[in-house]
Amino acid sequence: MKVGVHGLFARIHRAPLLEDVSFHLSQGELFGLVGPNGSGKSTLLRCLAGLRRPSSGRVLADGADLARLPARTRARRIALVEQHADTMDRLTVREAVELGRTPHLSPLRGWSAADAAAVEAALAAVEMADFAARHWHTLSGGEQQRVHIARALAQTPDLLLLDEPTNHLDIRHQLSLMALVRGLPITRVIALHDLNQAMACHRVAVLHRGRLAAVGPPGDVLAEDMLARVFGVAGSSREDPDGSRHLRFSHAL
C-alpha cells in the first residue's frame, strides 16, 4: 500500500501531540519510526491505523482518505500491533489469532478454509504453532507479543503497523521477528527504540516532541548530531567488517 501523510496535527485538550507531520511511504517500504519516550510514535501509528482522528491533515491510503473509509474495509487492509494489549478472557492462542480474520468475516459468511489457512500461516510465521492450544494467560510476555503479531498477520494486511514489537522478546526472537518483518512484501511502519534495529529499515523518521526532525535512509539520518540533539546521547556510526553500519553509544549527555 502507498501511504501519504499530509500536514497531520493531533492534539488532546489543546496540548499538541503531533504537529505538521508529512511524509510518503512507497509500496513495500520498511519504514522505521524512532524518537524518545513521549515523542508521539504511538500517536502517529494510531492515526495511520485510523483509530485516532487527526485534528487536521489527512492520511491517504492508496489515495483514499482514511477518515472516510468504513472501519471494516480499513481493517482488511491495515493491521496494528499495539504497544500494550491484554485480556482477562480465557481464550486460547488459536482463538486470539483467529480474531485477526474478523474484518474478513460477516454475520452470514462463516469460517472458511482460507481463513483457517491464514491463521495457520500466521502462527507458523511467529513460531507459535506448537502453542496454539495454550491459554493466553499461561503465556510469557514475549510469547503474548508474538501472538499479537500473528493476529495482525492473520488480517493479511497491505499495511502493517508495529508499535515496539520487539518489546519483551529475547534476543533470538528479536532477530527472527525483524527478519520476518523484513521478509514481508507489504508496506510496514515499525516504531523502535533500538536504533540499531532501525538501521535495517529502508528509511527512518525521527520524531521529536511531536514534530518530524528528519526522514531519510537510516545511515544519513541517525548521525552524531541527531543522536545528541534528539536522543541526548553521545554516539557514532561505525562501519562493520561486512560493510553494514552499526551505532555505538558511549554515554548520556
Binding site: 483509530l51 468504513p70 494489549a85 486470539a96 474484518p103 502453542f131
Partner: protein, 352 residues
C-alpha cells in the same frame, strides 16, 4: 507443553437440537410443579386441550391453574432468565468489566422510582399501571446515564474507546445512586409500612402477577435480543483485547456499543417492568458459561440464554415450593443458589 485444558467442543448439530428440548422440559417442569400438587397427566392433558384442542376431560380449576397461571409464569421466567443472562454477556464483553450486570445502566433503580411514583405517590392518578411506570422510569434513568456518560467521555484522548467504557460504568453508578435516592425519598415521604414492604418484594423479583398478556412482550424482546447478539457475535469477540483493538479489527465501536447497549437496555427495561429486578442471573450465568463453553460468542450467547432461562424457571419453582404456604421473592432464591454455585465454578475453574 500444552497443559491448559481447552473446553471440549460439542458437535454443533446436537447442541442445536438439544437446546429447545431442554428449554421445553424446563418450562414443562415449571408448569407441573407448584404448591398445589397436580398429576403430570392433568398438566399434559390441559396443555393438549389448549394447544391442539384434544378435548380431554379435566377439572376446570386445575386446568385454570396450569394454563392461566403456571404456564405464562414459566414462559416469562424463561424469557427473563435468557434476557438477563444475555445482557450480562453483552455488557461484560463491551465494557471489559467482569462485574458488569444488567442493571449497571441504572435500569433497576429507574424502574423502582417509576413504580414507586405510580403506586405510592399516585402519579398518573391510577390511569397508568405500575408496570408502565416502571418501564418509563427505567428508560428515563437509562437516558440520564447515557447523557452523563457522553458528557464524561467526550473530549477524552488516547485510548479513547477504553475511556468511554470507564465513563459508562461510572455514569451508571452515579445514575443508579440518584434514582435509588429518589425511590427512598418517595417511600419515606408518602408510603405506609404495607406499601414499603410490597415495593421491597417487587424489587427482589415477583412473578406472581404474570398473565398471558405479559407473555408476548417478554418473548418478543428476548428473542430479538438473542438474534441481535448472535448477529454481532464476531464484533463481541473482537473486544477481547479491548475496545481499541476491536476498532483496529474493523469494528465500528461506537455504533456497535450504542446498538447493543440500547437494545439490551430496552429488553431489560421491559422485563424489569413485568417482574422486578431479579439479581444475580445476569452477573453469574455468563461467567459460568464462559467456563463451560469458552469465550467465543457464537457459543456463549446461545449457551447463556439457555442456561439463564432454565436457571430462572428452576429458581421460580423453588421459590414457590421451598416454604409451604409462602412464595419467596425469586431474587432471594437466585442469590441463595447462585452464590455458592458461582463460588464452586470459580474454584474449579482456577484449578484447571
Amino acid at each position: 507443553m500444552t497443559t491448559a485444558v481447552v473446553p471440549s467442543r460439542m458437535p454443533r448439530g446436537s447442541a442445536i437440537c438439544l437446546a429447545p428440548l431442554v428449554l421445553a422440559a424446563a418450562v414443562l417442569a415449571g408448569t407441573a410443579i407448584g404448591e398445589t400438587r397436580l398429576p403430570l397427566a392433568t398438566v399434559l392433558r390441559t396443555l393438549a386441550n389448549h394447544l391442539w384442542g384434544a378435548g380431554y376431560p379435566v377439572d376446570g380449576i386445575e386446568a385454570g391453574i396450569v394454563w392461566s397461571y403456571r404456564l405464562p409464569r414459566a414462559i416469562v421466567a424463561a424469557c427473563c432468565g435468557a434476557g438477563l443472562a444475555l445482557t450480562g454477556v453483552v455488557l461484560q464483553a463491551l465494557l471489559r468489566n467482569p462485574l458488569a450486570d444488567p442493571y449497571l445502566m441504572g435500569l433497576s433503580a429507574g424502574a423502582s422510582t417509576g413504580a414507586v411514583l405510580v403506586t405510592v405517590a399516585g402519579v398518573g392518578g391510577g390511569a397508568i399501571s405500575m408496570s408502565l411506570g416502571a418501564l418509563t422510569g427505567a428508560l428515563v434513568a437509562f437516558g440520564c446515564v447515557v447523557a452523563l456518560a457522553r458528557a464524561v467521555g467526550g473530549g477524552a484522548g488516547g485510548g479513547r474507546e477504553t475511556q468511554a467504557a470507564a465513563a459508562i460504568i461510572l455514569a451508571g453508578i452515579a445514575g443508579s445512586q440518584l434514582f435509588n435516592a429518589l425511590t427512598a425519598f418517595t417511600i419515606a415521604r408518602s408510603a405506609n409500612a404495607e406499601q414499603a414492604r410490597g415495593i421491597m418484594f417487587w424489587l427482589m423479583g415477583n412473578l406472581s402477577g404474570i398473565r398471558w398478556e405479559d407473555v408476548a412482550a417478554c418473548t418478543l424482546v428476548s428473542l430479538v435480543g438473542v438474534g441481535l447478539c448472535l448477529w454481532h457475535r464476531r464484533g463481541l469477540d473482537a473486544f477481547a483485547f479491548g475496545a481499541d483493538s476491536a476498532a483496529s479489527l474493523g469494528v465500528n465501536v461506537p455504533v456497535l456499543r450504542g446498538t447493543l447497549v440500547t437494545a439490551t437496555a430496552i429488553m431489560v427495561g421491559v422485563l424489569v417492568s413485568k417482574v422486578g429486578a431479579i439479581g444475580f442471573v445476569g452477573l453469574v450465568v455468563p461467567h459460568a458459561m464462559r467456563f463451560l463453553v469458552g469465550t467465543r460468542h457464537d457459543r456463549l450467547v446461545p449457551a447463556s440464554a439457555l442456561a439463564g432461562a432454565v436457571f430462572l424457571v428452576a429458581a421460580d419453582v423453588v421459590s414457590r415450593v421451598l416454604v409451604p404456604g409462602q412464595v419467596l421473592p425469586i431474587g432471594v432464591v437466585t442469590a441463595l443458589v447462585g452464590a455458592p454455585a458461582f463460588a464452586l465454578i470459580l474454584v474449579r475453574g482456577a484449578r484447571r
